[in-house]
Subunit: 100 residues, 4 copies
């Protein structure tokens, strides 16, 4: 996943719509959390087994919500000056130390 | 970000701990949403301006939470058979169509 | 707020629709969290000042989401055998001890 | 549940700690959502059946989180000028119309 390219394209959309004023880290975290709940909503009344066998329409919906979340997290990382790849690798290395 | 490599390392941790039984998409979405709230918590009492100038400790904490969220989303995508890069690109292309 | 009356009416709706099978505490907590995000969504792009002066339509929407959350929490308390009034009072007394 | 009494006691704690400045509806909704996620966290790795039979410690924890959520919602309702009992009753009446 080419994070620099994705971020540049997100910033182009943002700037063309004059949205930067709304993109405080506080607001972007809220927006990401709202998209996350839309992902959770897909699963809320399903059994765990059903969640492993989503029908095509729900699966496509889940993909859209994952996309929304990752895009907001990329915008958030850019505002905070965080490198998503680096923070993900740091957390993964930490889990490897603790759990393997 | 090398999604295949990250996912393989996540699966190694998961399998070494016999966690697959817990990793239904339903549970992974819940877990991701809990990490998301830990990200939101960093910002809840800050003004938008303060959220743009996080002190180093809070910034590091934010990075850890972003890491946790992305890792759970990678596990979720693997369970659902979704390609994170593809769903992110599809959503971005959709936003480009709608907003530019 | 008459919690027993509200809970009895919720259970009547639930039973008439054969929804009890879906009302595990796990699912009810998820559902409440989704409604909570719908409340958060109202505020995500507003400044704090704007959030203090909601237009009538957004205010009505906020009320609906608060209603949804409280109703799911009542269903959850009933499933868990918790008395909402008692747990709220216990938490408030705890805050009084710690912060006053 | 005596909402007026509970709200008055919450406001006493708030004012004694000079917290009103932080209590914008935006922030209170965020704070409530964080407490909600702490409730969800209790259930994230449990099966639905396990969630119906919480051990005493987890049940007490769930009660504390429900308490936190309701208290933040009461503060939010007070800031917005919403009557929690009225909005809950309106939503319940709406569900009765739609589902019974």
């Amino acid at each position: 996943m080419n994070l620099d390219e994705l971020t540049a394209r997100l910033h182009a959309i943002r700037d063309q719509n004059d949205w930067r004023q709304f993109h405080s880290p506080k607001n972007l975290a809220m927006a990401a959390s709202v998209e996350m709940a839309e992902l959770v909503e897909i699963f809320q009344w399903l059994s765990e087994d059903q969640s492993r066998q989503l029908p095509a329409e729900k699966l496509a919906h889940a993909g859209q919500e994952v996309g929304d979340i990752v895009l907001y997290l990329l915008l958030l990382c850019a505002e905070l000056g965080l490198d998503m790849d680096a923070v993900v690798r740091a957390k993964l290395a930490d889990s490897e130390r603790r759990f393997t």
